[in-house]
């Protein structure tokens, strides 16, 4: 069963609505509750967490658009806007829409807002369409008929802090995550949102403050691990991040350019 009972998407409490096919094309919305453990000290949701929600929505849209073929993330660009979460039951909602669906690539936008409609973030993504063999094809109609989904954390499990659950550690050598059932995607590789989380963590480790933007190019899947992201300040607030699969001959998985800014007291 994907995702497993203690998967990161359950810890985040991801909800995904039923997709809507309208005159402007396919749209998909989803949300997560905002808890203190996914925010920075200034009350903004961490870029890596927003990227995870965006990745879930983007993945859901791309698989429906590419059907009966498959699609993998090629790149993700994220811009965060100033916001501060407080009060009862805060959440962030992401709505994705297709900008272009071609034979080889799919491009989409994802708009992220707070419950009052205030802008939280904006993302664009592109996906590469992969041809499936006949025995492994997906029917778009089946995907459209899927009900709304909520990934709930088991009632009998302790609510582990999010970054503790995903096993994010930071040392002098970078930000690290190991592969496990709780952080993998449906085909056993590192979940796409965790790539954004590692980029975010490495950018902050190198540049300080919080990540407010990144452009990440996905060069290969993370299949073995542990995965290490290292940030290098290029100048000003711009940090270059390299993510590598150290268990797979240190293969380069992702290169990103991130922008950081200080967190106001």
């Amino acid at each position: 069963m994907y995702p497993g009972p203690r998967h990161m998407l359950r810890r985040l409490g991801v909800e995904i609505d039923r997709p809507v096919r309208g005159p402007d094309g396919l749209r998909l919305a989803g949300r997560i509750p905002v808890t203190a453990d996914v925010c920075d000290p200034g009350g903004m949701v961490r870029a890596g967490v927003v990227a995870t929600l965006v990745d879930v929505i983007g993945g859901g849209l791309s698989v429906r658009t590419a059907a009966p073929d498959w699609a993998v993330t090629a790149d993700l660009s994220l811009r965060l806007f100033p916001h501060r979460f407080a009060g009862p039951a805060p959440s962030v909602e992401a709505t994705g829409s297709i900008v272009r669906a071609g034979r080889r690539a799919i491009v989409m936008e994802v708009d992220v807002r707070d419950p009052g409609g205030g802008p939280v973030a904006h993302a664009t993504m592109s996906f590469t369409v992969m041809t499936r063999n006949e025995s492994n094809q997906v029917r778009a109609s089946e995907l459209d008929e899927a009900d709304a989904t909520r990934f709930a954390w088991p009632d009998d499990a302790e609510p582990v802090p999010y970054f503790e659950l995903v096993g994010l550690t930071i040392d002098d050598d970078g930000a690290w995550v190991s592969l496990g059932e709780h952080v993998s995607n449906s085909f056993g590789a590192l979940q796409g949102g965790l790539i954004g989380t590692l980029v975010d963590a490495a950018a902050v480790a190198a540049g300080g403050g919080r990540t407010v933007a990144f452009d990440a190019c996905y060069l290969g899947l993370g299949r073995v691990g542990p995965f290490r992201a290292r940030g290098t300040v290029l100048g000003g607030s711009t940090v270059r991040v390299e993510l590598r699969d150290t268990g797979s001959e240190d293969r380069l998985m992702t290169v990103a350019l991130a922008a950081v800014e200080p967190i106001a007291a």
Binding site: S77, F81, C217, L234, V255, L257, A259
Partner: protein, 264 residues
């Protein structure tokens, strides 16, 4: 020979205007290049426009990704560029290196500097789509490419908006398709689209552009090519680029970060 007789004439005209110089090192998968810093290509604060830097990135990055897929060639799918310091030298330099060569896409990254690679002032990533060209590649491909020397115009170079044929609109700007603005694929050059977005954002918001993400979605061939600006959030705007002569179809999408005001 007229511009339309040679599929590379448009690219050469743009390269000549920016005085682009490209030097590939095929064995290493790297390309270095530079563009001139002239007042007509600069922002009001004297730094080269991000649209011009994006054209440099597109040129060196495109060449690095293209040389990796010969005899096929590439068309830019998307590029992102961040700057953090003004360009102050006589020329801006770009250093591109190949990150990945795939069957359908090729990826490169580019560092922008003023002449000292150890002190960069910008950086970017470029993804190219791999296509089989329906035109002969230039004989000089893979060699050092220096734009032919052209004498300075007696009355100086026109402002960039004038050279592009830019027409301001309340919510952006547009330009007509001219042969000198086309790439060898017969579509508006990616660098021209970047300069259109840059100028449209600056004119509409009154702020200087510091970073740009540009996704090329479809070819712009007919024109006018129109950039329409809307605000996404503080200091971030979205530009939708449409080909108005092709039923207004969307040809590019940009997300742009703006900084200080033009008059600050």
């Amino acid at each position: 020979m007229s511009l339309t007789d040679d599929r590379h004439a448009g690219g050469r005209a743009l390269s000549a205007h920016l005085d682009l110089r490209l030097q590939p090192a095929r064995d290493e998968g790297t390309v270095t290049g530079s563009a001139v810093r002239r007042p007509d290509l600069c922002r009001p604060d004297g730094s080269l426009r991000i649209g011009v830097l994006a054209t440099l990135l597109d040129s060196v990055g495109g060449l690095a990704t293209g040389l990796a897929v010969l005899p096929d060639w590439v068309v830019t799918a998307d590029l992102s560029l961040r700057t953090w310091a003004p360009t102050r030298g006589a020329r801006a330099h770009g250093e591109a290196r190949l990150l990945r060569r795939g069957r359908s896409t090729s990826v490169g990254e580019v560092l922008i500097h003023d002449g000292d690679p150890a002190a960069p002032c910008g950086a970017g990533i470029l993804t190219s789509g791999v296509l089989t060209p329906d035109f002969p590649l230039p004989a000089e491909i893979g060699e050092v490419m220096v734009s032919p020397h052209r004498p300075e115009p007696a009355d100086g170079h026109p402002p960039l908006p004038e050279w592009l044929g830019l027409v301001a609109r309340p919510d952006g700007a547009e330009l007509a398709v001219q042969p000198r603005l086309l790439n060898p694929w017969g579509m508006v050059h990616g660098g021209v689209t970047a300069m259109l977005v840059d100028l449209a954002v600056e004119a509409t918001t009154g702020r200087l552009v510091d970073d740009m993400l540009l996704r090329y979605l479809r070819p712009g061939r007919v024109g006018p090519i129109r950039a329409t600006i809307t605000e996404l959030g503080p200091r971030t705007v979205r530009s939708v680029v449409t080909d108005e002569g092709a039923d207004g179809r969307v040809v590019a999408l940009a997300v742009v970060g703006v900084g200080v005001g033009v008059s600050d």
